[in-house]
Symmetry: C2
Subunit: 495 residues, 2 copies
């Protein structure tokens, strides 16, 4: 067997363990009785260990080294070259971090998550602070293992989105922040602001019917996906023909509506990853930012758009038994309301929530801000950017789970997603004059085909920004996003 075949055989088993881990987690969040939590954690550990044994095996490393030797490398196809390089990069990075450190860090993360959960519940930041300090310290040490020659926060950013750096983000997020603050201030002065009608509660079965409709519109009728229910919506891939998305039906009918569109956007990306990449390391998204661009695209540019509701609203109002004009509904769906909670934020203020976290963790990891001063800095920024005064740490510094897992560098990808989605929407419009009309007609064939060929099918053969440049002709720029928001809210709030 050739080395590349041996590599693919090993890799396909890694991918199988990935899929099994996804199923164990999906089932845990959607169906598993809560009492089975401990046993489930043990199952996950066992499979994670099997996955780790393969990923860190000398057999895999030696194969990759052999394939990268000049004589072997030059015989590889272009695709296999990308495959070997990407895979090697990741394997080598993992091997730089000592196992004992990984184990200690993992225990710290587990413990910290528990402490954070309790601290949030009891609104007690002080109990979490010492853990946060340790998490920051371990994250810096991890970054130093991977690359001691660049700023640690840059290393961490690249764990979630290759090629990202503070330099790049500052260039985009600083002017974007100004734009968002300025637009928010204009909206607040609108005579419509604060007078949006609220949507009455909608029967849960009607919500389910709508969610299934939305998911089918995005993911297609071909049944290689499943829509389930969980406390927090998510999407996951069990295998290439088995995409799972979840939502939550609640008092707020917008939540199941928009989260279904969001998760279906993620799901469509996974569903369309190139068939030629199956079973290999390249059969994954280019990065979390690009992944988020897909969910944001369907959530914001499609399902929260005026075009989408122009025809669909009559059906929707009938199914949900609504007595609200289309215009009132649309304004209500998109209403701006600065608040404390990121995951419930409107489209306009959402970016500010992310930028606050970015600025804080950037300074935290790069040593310009201490955990001691973090809470004050958080509260100050919320007042400054969003005009809201944090009263409870559970609504403030304790709000998100990410830091308890030491996911420093993750937050920026949420906003990169929105930025890229605006760029993608503009590109689509430049390729097809009828995009809005097609959205009105719930005809997504052009959009789905374009996304598949230009974004999804490439997997991780290209880096994230490289992929966006390939598809849209431009990389990380805030301009399209700001133009899109200005246009949308100008019309909505009659600015």
């Amino acid at each position: 067997m050739s080395d590349i075949k041996k590599l693919k055989l090993l890799d396909s088993n890694i991918k199988k363990f990935d899929g099994i881990l996804s199923l164990l987690s999906f089932d845990q969040e959607t169906l598993m009785p809560k009492e089975a939590l401990d046993e489930r954690a043990e199952y996950i550990s066992l499979i994670a260990l099997k996955h780790h044994e393969l990923f860190s095996s000398d057999e895999l490393y030696d194969l990759l080294i052999s394939l990268k030797s000049r004589d072997n490398y030059k015989k590889l196809s272009l695709l296999n070259k990308a495959y070997v390089n990407n895979f090697f990069e990741e394997v080598e990075k993992k091997r730089k971090i000592p196992s004992s450190f990984v184990e200690e860090f993992s225990k710290l993360q587990g413990k910290s998550f528990g402490v954070w959960e309790k601290a949030k519940l009891e609104d007690d930041y002080d109990s979490f602070k010492p853990y946060l300090e340790k998490l920051v310290d371990y994250s810096k040490r991890k970054a130093a293992f991977i690359n001691p020659d660049i700023d640690p926060y840059d290393v961490l950013l690249q764990e979630f989105e290759k090629g990202l750096s503070v330099e790049k983000l500052d260039e985009v997020f600083i002017p974007l922040k100004e734009e968002l603050v300025s637009l928010l201030s204009k909206v607040k002065k609108s005579s419509l602001y604060g007078k949006e009608k609220f949507l009455p509660s909608v029967d849960l079965n009607a919500q389910k019917e709508i969610s299934l409709k939305i998911a089918s519109l995005i993911l297609g009728d071909k049944k290689n996906w499943v829509l389930s229910e969980s406390e927090h919506p998510f999407s996951t891939t069990i295998s290439p023909n088995d995409i799972r998305i979840t939502t939550k039906y609640s008092d707020d009918p917008f939540f199941s509506l928009t989260s279904t569109a969001h998760e279906a956007g993620h799901g469509l990306y996974e569903m369309n990853l190139g068939k030629n990449l199956r079973g290999t390391f390249l059969h994954q998204a280019a990065g979390l930012g690009v992944h988020e661009s897909q969910s944001r695209f369907w959530e914001n540019h499609v399902v929260k758009s005026k075009s989408f509701w122009s025809n669909f609203y009559d059906d929707y109002a009938k199914i949900c038994n609504l007595d609200l004009s289309k215009e009132d509904f649309y304004l209500s769906l998109n209403r701006v309301q600065p608040s404390f909670i990121r995951i419930k934020a409107d489209e306009l203020t959402y970016g500010l929530h992310v930028i606050i976290r970015y600025e804080l963790e950037r300074d935290l990891i790069n040593g310009k801000l201490s955990v001691e001063n973090l809470k004050d800095a958080w509260n100050k920024k919320y007042e400054e950017y969003l005009g809201v005064k944090v009263e409870k740490d559970s609504d403030g510094i304790l709000q998100d789970v990410h830091w308890s897992h030491a996911y420093f560098g993750y937050f920026p990808t949420y906003l990169i997603g929105s930025i890229y989605s605006a760029l993608i929407y503009d590109t689509l419009c430049s390729k097809n004059d009828n995009i809005d009309k097609e959205i009105s007609n719930l005809d997504f064939s052009f959009i789905r085909t374009w996304l598949k060929h230009n974004i999804h099918s490439h997997g991780s053969t290209l880096g994230p920004e490289e992929l966006i440049k390939y598809a849209c002709g431009e990389g990380l720029t805030y301009k399209n996003y700001v133009e899109y928001l200005n246009k949308k809210y100008k019309e909505l709030y009659d600015l």
Copy 2:
């Protein structure tokens, strides 16, 4: 670490792989998109391989050998002695069968299943015949590997229920057959026979509500179980606190009703396996016959009993919107109707379906009947015992999946289950004069507690018949079962 601790550590990982395999299959049957079948089969193979590697490892075998050495063995507790002996027996048995044979046989089974599926669909027994011949041959060879000194069918029987033999079964099944045939003939002469009212179709949501109620009555409110939907009802254990049962809601409302009770009976057994046995080889049912006694008990002695409906019927009729008297409903639920299909058979004729299969496979494996003559023998017995003339092989010899998997020796456990369930019911009545009254009141506390302490909690520390003798004072006897049926049908059909 002591050897027994090392053994338990290894064993707990085997149990984890068991649980993961159960989840992979459960999800496949209940939620997985059909398109993902091939990948799912690969995931299952991978985990089955990991399971096999542990089970057949020299490390495990050497540990068991060491624990069985006189000096070590005498230091073990009684429970650990049973543990080591049972485990060793199973491991040694597996080691007697060459891996190459296991692999070949497994491929043959896979292939044969596909051929059988198609043959059944196309009503084409001839295409399946050569595979059936091979399956018989491989099964005999397997039996010879395990124990060449006894009849091969006895070896196969013991794969499903320890201690079983043709001698024992003939002693019970031959007189039982006469009794069933005679009782059926009496029922057929009843003036009520063939005049039972049919239940109208019941709304699927009402069926769901009823199934959930039934499952809760049997399994309890404590949420360590899940009720799902699948094409064919089954029960499975993901982990001790995670019991899954399924049913199917269809045009026949009796099906979801009785299958839910049936599967919940299986589930309750698994739920109540002794906590002290968790993570070990003993944490499993004593055998398939005992397992089936639990499902049959709840299905026939509880949910199909007159007592059960005496109070519950009013609720049921309301939820299902029924306009049928309690008496007509009860007769309809229990009506006797000889037919071709085992899984749709009534309680009285069910045993005859099983006995036919037993007699045929016994003679097939022990060389007294050829595959060539099997079909004629099948059809003849159906006419003789049940009075029905098989017109299509898909309703006859091709009806069941078992033989395509080479599950020879499995069928008898279905009837052993009914036999044991009657013995258990009589034992319960001898311990508590109010059993029927408690069933009327839907108060299952005594029954649940008795089953837990006398049957479930023992896992496989005792052999199946040994366990039943321990709990009921008697082993495999058909008398209680016949008395129970005679009494039930005498009353029902006014004999």
